[in-house]
Symmetry: D2
Subunit: 153 residues, 4 copies
């Protein structure tokens, strides 16, 4: 992933109980780190995150996660978590992220996470609201490919 495209970064410290029996961070824990990055990203761009939903009157679900493991993180590591929304389609949007060991700048893992916006009542996919598209566009500018709904006149 191209670091220059990422305008948001946060840090996590590897905690001792995240280390597995192989002496490295367990493979599922990386999903936690990427999620921490996404939540901070959403807060930063102004999309309110509360306990039950990513946005008021919204229900956003994770539809797909892709994780590439490049080199393991270890206890004592501080990781830089880079996050960005790389595209918004009709009812879905894509978060990309990567983890970098702060001390060596090695890339630890990469993540592509596909989210789908659901109607809270019917649970059917609904168009990503314009308000959310605008928050992302304001933050990402040219770096996020946004497919705006076509209005047929």
């Amino acid at each position: 992933m191209d670091k220059k495209l990422f305008a948001h970064q946060t840090k996590v410290s590897v905690r001792n109980y995240e280390i597995d029996w192989q002496g490295i961070v367990h493979n599922a824990i990386y999903l936690h780190y990427f999620e921490i990055g996404r939540i901070e990203y959403l807060n930063r761009i102004g999309a309110k995150v509360d306990v039950n939903a990513i946005n008021t009157n919204a229900k956003v679900v994770l539809a797909r996660n892709e994780l590439d493991y490049l080199t393991p993180a270890r206890f004592g590591d501080t990781l830089n978590v880079y996050s960005r929304i790389s595209s918004i389609r009709n009812s879905s949007f894509i978060f990309e992220g990567f983890l970098e060991r702060d001390s060596t700048k090695e890339v630890i893992a990469e993540n592509v996470a596909v989210h789908v916006w659901l109607d809270p009542q019917s649970n059917a996919p609904m168009p990503v609201p314009d308000g959310f598209r605008k928050l992302v566009q304001r933050f990402e500018g040219e770096h996020c490919q946004i497919q705006w709904p076509t209005i047929i006149v």
Copy 2:
């Protein structure tokens, strides 16, 4: 995924602390379930799993995880975990898996996990040992695509 291709199945019960603030199983927990399936699969085909390695004198690492979330699992669910090795290439092999809610037979999530065999000393990829290929072939038969090393005379 085609259920008929899966010769191995185990069960997990969703535990209460695996439920997140949205009332459903947290997205990272599914990786735990698939891993439980893979470990039992390896035991069943006779590949010894111990604390530090999947096989004696072996070091196998997870290089990539793909997860598709179809419908959420909830507290009280019993899940059937289906696992198979779908292909073995030179130094890597692929585990496929899916989770099925036992009560309704709905598919909860699907996983593709790419593993790479490393030389324990150099940490460089090495060919998947013939012994492991044979264990998988004996268990999977035609269902696993195995690329045997070419011997050039």
Copy 3:
């Protein structure tokens, strides 16, 4: 703890990701096992457990946990989780539990967990409802010390 006093037992299997860097079950995981025991106990005596409360119109919180670690559990162990409510006072009740390695009958850990019943509106302690006292008495008989509310005429 005296095994003969425990009328409820369930089983858990140690999962691989519950093992820490010392090769044994991490010290916090035992709290998960005891909680699994308590939830099954409450279901068995007929106290409805749902996602948001132990009982309808009830709010029960954990006020204190005591854990004694006797010998570590390891990957592959099946543990018998024994649970009982040993006493009910005015607004609190006490769960006792212990974990036993199924293969050797060694005691792994013991737990005393003090719970307090709160008024869902005010969050102040309230008397443990009579309905709950009766469910416990029916199940535990003489083994649970129940302090019934004094009715002053």
Copy 4:
């Protein structure tokens, strides 16, 4: 616990996946926070913490944990983790700790954790080494009650 007795403090942020279905930090997670505090404490006083032991040639096990839950921590909270070794006896020592919500200074939970020093070969309790007693004494001064081994002439 008396805050004035604690010379060591660190911070943890509550992570979203540590919140349970009741909207508060799960009761087992507090053990993680206290452990983070202890590991940083040991590093600070100069007791080397590595992957397999608290000290070289040492094996230290947790024998007992007492946890008092005063008020729940929530997502978004930053917690101050206070840790101290309050006493050292012949083969055991006691860590005390408490968690304070940074924004309000409320006490969230208190912990007493009894550790026992084992001989790495025999696994039998052995006297806490003098080197460790000295590191603690230098850091804690009068605040830690240290029972030095009696030398009978």
